[in-house]
């Protein structure tokens, strides 16, 4: 079984939100504040009853409700009062393995749906108190003291998190951890990887340890002493160990890594260990989801690489939901698994071709997410192109860098078409700045899916339509007059470029040779120059668009 769909209503930033999940791996990508963590939090909440590391019963507050809804409710009270808002989170199972949760009590009105609904809602038992409260007026916040929390299957059967046959394991790097004592999540994870009989053995060993302690002669002696001193009461006073609950061991045992208590180990290492434990193959019936929040935090590149490898090798039987900012993580685990969160809406990459997935998987360094997350991207071939485009942008926009306006200039080498395939899925504005390399027909062929009849509204191919020619040869082959450098020379004079580069070539061909062999150097000089540079029209076109 797996989570097929989650519907979130009135929880934090989500008013009405629906996300479909794959059976195995899912990667949620989105800008800061896009609501990535809220999705993970919501899933963890409904499966465990825990939010921000604490039981949800103690954590109900107005702040976990959607702000707009709360505002609407409060302001409605002075006019026509709305009913107190409720948080609803529905989980739909995939796999047809949970007939007991099959029923029509779901917001899809689907008779075949299997799942359950988590609700934080007004408890009708308090109707009288609530009525009094409303009549008094002066309600400034949600009356959460009259709220209740319920889990109900689609078959209208009340359940507890214990009876949900699907566990969640939330691995995040945030700080709301109990600083003292055991890590709640870690002990959950370790417990999850044990068989019931193992857990019983631990509990029994713990009990024996306690008995040994109480019966130790020195403790007995001390207890006698205490009793002699305490004369004002005739009750027996004794030092003992808390009998506690059946899971007392969870609170008094500490997990160690190389003899260091777990919470003293670095955050990055904690993340790796937790993930590995969570992924470990474990006993029969316990299916579950692993929620991994921004694994790139606290991890070096090579450690991240190991973690990702561990994930992609072992996730097979588990459902995984990873939130990330890192292109590396996304590329490596597969762009096909990416769920892009934009403005609380969802975009997927399911229609990418196999080769493109594999390409980005192998060459995972590409900044695919930069393109995915920006407002507009300009794709170019090399570093020198990028520098010139940045310069051009600044000249046109009062010295602002494109990134300051949410525009990314991305060097993609020869992989334009791979990036364009992604661009087609996401609908972000993408301009391609490319050389014509002296063969306009080849360019037209290469980009045929994006020009003329097939032009896409959000994709623009910018190329110089003029094919320049000349006699210069480099070695035995012809010099390419149709790259950025010769085009720059065409727009600006020999003198001006000599001045900018600090060179002193008498002939244009010599400068051409110099520029060809020092592309990045020249690009930097142009970028840093205080002079106004004339920019070829096809580049300006990409910027103005």
């Amino acid at each position: 079984m797996f989570i097929k769909k989650v519907k979130i209503h009135n929880f934090k930033c989500y008013r009405d939100f629906e996300i479909q999940l794959n059976e195995g791996l899912n990667i949620v990508v989105g800008d800061n504040e896009a609501g990535k963590s809220t999705i993970l939090e919501a899933i963890n909440l409904v499966l465990t009853g825990i939010i921000s590391g604490k039981s949800v019963w103690n954590e109900i507050s107005q702040y976990i409700f959607n702000k707009d809804v709360v505002d609407e409710y409060i302001s409605s009270l002075s006019a026509i009062p709305m009913a107190p808002p409720a948080i609803t989170i529905e989980v739909f199972w995939g796999g047809n393995e949970t007939p007991i949760m099959n029923g029509d009590e779901n917001s899809d009105r689907d008779n075949d749906a299997e799942g359950f609904c988590f609700k934080i809602s007004f408890n009708e038992k308090y109707a009288v108190e609530y009525e009094a409260l409303i009549q008094q007026g002066d309600v400034k916040s949600l009356p959460i003291e009259y709220y209740e929390i319920t889990w109900t299957t689609f078959a209208r059967d009340p359940i507890t998190t214990r009876s949900i046959p699907y566990k969640s394991c939330f691995i995040d790097s945030s700080e709301y951890r109990y600083q003292s004592g055991n890590d709640l999540y870690l002990s959950r994870i370790i417990k999850g990887s044990l068989e019931p009989e193992d857990i019983t053995s631990i509990a029994q060993a713990h009990r024996r340890m306690r008995d040994v302690f109480i019966n130790d002669p020195s403790i007995e002696g001390i207890n006698n002493k205490i009793n002699q001193d305490a004369s004002l009461t005739d009750k027996k006073i004794a030092l003992s160990v808390e009998l506690g609950t059946k899971n007392a061991w969870e609170n008094s045992l500490v997990t160690q890594l190389d003899e260091i208590p777990f919470h003293y180990v670095g955050k990055g290492e904690q993340c790796v260990v937790k993930t590995e434990l969570a992924l470990a193959k474990r006993s029969s019936q316990k299916a579950g989801i692993i929620l991994l929040e921004e694994p790139e935090n606290h991890l070096s590149h090579s450690r991240l690489n190991q973690l990702i490898k561990c994930i992609s090798d072992k996730y097979a039987e588990k459902q995984l939901l990873i939130s990330t900012h890192s292109s590396f993580v996304a590329n490596k685990l597969g762009l096909g698994k990416v769920i892009l969160l934009n403005d609380h809406r969802i975009i997927r990459f399911s229609q990418l071709s196999e080769e493109t997935y594999n390409f980005f998987k192998k060459i995972a360094g590409y900044d695919t997410l930069r393109m995915i997350l920006c407002k507009k991207a300009i794709l170019c071939e090399g570093d020198s192109d990028e520098l010139v485009i940045q310069k051009a942008y600044m000249q046109l926009n009062d010295g602002r860098l494109p990134i300051e306006d949410g525009i990314e200039v991305i060097t993609v080498g020869v992989s334009f078409l791979r990036f364009l395939e992604i661009a087609e899925c996401i609908g972000t504005k993408i301009a391609v700045v490319t050389d014509n390399d002296g063969d306009m027909d080849a360019i037209k062929k290469k980009y045929e899916k994006y020009i003329g009849m097939n032009a896409k509204e959000h994709i623009k191919i910018c190329v110089d339509n003029v094919v320049d020619t000349g006699m210069l040869k480099i070695g035995i082959s012809d010099y390419n007059y149709n790259t950025l450098e010769p085009k720059l020379l065409k727009e600006n004079s020999l003198d001006k470029l000599n001045r900018i580069f600090g060179t002193n070539y008498a002939k244009e061909d010599d400068l051409r040779k110099y520029m060809k062999h020092n592309k990045t150097e020249c690009g930097l000089k142009i970028f840093e120059s205080t002079e106004q540079i004339a920019i070829p029209e096809y580049i300006l076109e990409a910027i103005r668009w």
Binding site: P99, N102, D104, N111, A155, R156
Partner: protein, 368 residues
């Protein structure tokens, strides 16, 4: 689907058999029965034989099963409101008002009043009808869902199901689950059903229903497996079998001899003496029957499922006339009551009956 209806004689170890069967299953098992008393007995039998109820076994009363799996999953076809459980009714529910010619009831179109109390509790006599409605309006999803949850379904005391219950049984028989029904048509002691539906199959005519209406479900009818009594000795078995000649005579596996074994007529004037000598459990039709209150007593209707070494029955008038002439008409309910009363005892059944030297009652001896 392997479906079976097992006709069980009184004291044949029905519960033990059922629990043993269930313990052999590794799939998920549902055991459902009509009364809470019998549900408890099944639970206790599990404790006795296995120490606990295995995790793959669910035991529920018929009503609780219907509410959870019949009503709630697809109640949306009728209404969305929360249903707050059910209320047991002993007569037709949903009375609108008392009319000139008797009570007037809500029609099914007024579904809230028809099915529910003001507090949204469902009337027990309407649950099965509601379930059938859900089943029909969801194209059989109710039974399909149940079948996906439980691959083995055991229905105990099946003779107590009637009316729309029978349609539910029919639906279950058509699913992939293996359904085993066990019951004794001779022990229909009461009905909370006043449903006009399937009137012809009331009073324990479950076998006839299966034969007539469930031909395609391939349900086998087994009258051998549970036809021997571990409780009653041979004379008790023989005498009780006289009440239902259409069934084979019950055999016995109880051979203990006590010196006072079989059926005995006890004159009213000998009652105290008899009670003193043998300490039988007194069985009466209802509270208004005079008994010796110094000795324990129980109503026949409540004795179902219980076992005593000896009983003393205070028969009704019609029971007495049946004893005198077994060809005499006896109402199904009374016949069943007498059958239950007789089959409570291991060794001896005393029947209060005034006799003289000339009296001859077939199958019974005289106490003095």
């Amino acid at each position: 689907m392997v479906n079976r209806l097992i006709i069980a004689a009184a004291g044949s170890g029905k519960t033990t058999y059922l629990v043993r069967q269930a313990l052999q299953q590794s799939d998920s098992v549902l055991i459902t029965t009509f009364t809470i008393a019998n549900e408890t007995e099944i639970r206790n039998k599990f404790l006795e034989l296995n120490g606990c109820v295995p995790h793959n076994v669910t035991i529920q009363t018929w009503y609780s099963f219907l509410l959870q799996h019949g009503v709630r999953p697809f109640q949306g076809v009728v209404l969305k409101d929360k249903i707050n459980g059910m209320i047991l009714v002993n007569e037709k529910s949903g009375k609108k008002y008392d009319g000139k010619y008797g009570p007037v009831y809500y029609s099914e179109e007024e579904y809230k009043e028809f099915y529910f109390t003001d507090g949204m509790k469902m009337y027990s006599d309407k649950i099965a009808k509601f379930v059938c409605r859900c089943e029909n309006e969801t194209n059989g999803r109710v039974s399909k869902r149940i079948s996906r949850i439980y691959s083995k379904i055991y229905i105990d005391e099946v003779q107590d199901l009637a009316g729309y219950d029978l349609d539910i049984i029919k639906s279950l028989l058509q699913t992939d689950s293996d359904v085993t029904m066990v019951g004794d048509p001779r022990q229909v002691t009461y009905h909370t059903h006043n449903e006009a539906k399937y009137k012809q199959y009331a009073d324990g005519k479950i076998e006839e229903f299966i034969r007539a209406k469930c031909k395609k479900t391939n349900c086998k009818i087994d009258k051998e497996t549970l036809n021997d009594s571990y409780r009653n000795n041979q004379s008790i078995c023989s005498y009780s079998s006289c009440l239902y000649k259409e069934y084979d005579e019950t055999g016995t596996k109880q051979f203990h001899v006590t010196g006072h074994d079989g059926i005995f007529l006890v004159r009213p004037k000998d009652i105290d003496l008899y009670l003193k000598e043998y300490k039988p459990m007194q069985l009466r039709e209802k509270r208004t029957v005079t008994v010796n209150n110094e000795y324990p007593v129980i109503n026949m209707g409540e004795s179902k499922g219980l076992t005593y070494d000896r009983v003393l029955i205070y028969p009704t008038k019609s029971m007495k006339s049946w004893m005198e002439d077994q060809a005499k008409e006896l109402k199904p309910r009374t016949r069943s009551q007498l059958y239950v009363a007789i089959t409570r005892a291991r060794y001896s059944v005393g029947i209060v009956f005034d006799y003289d030297e000339k009296t001859i009652i077939e199958g019974a001896k005289k106490y003095r």
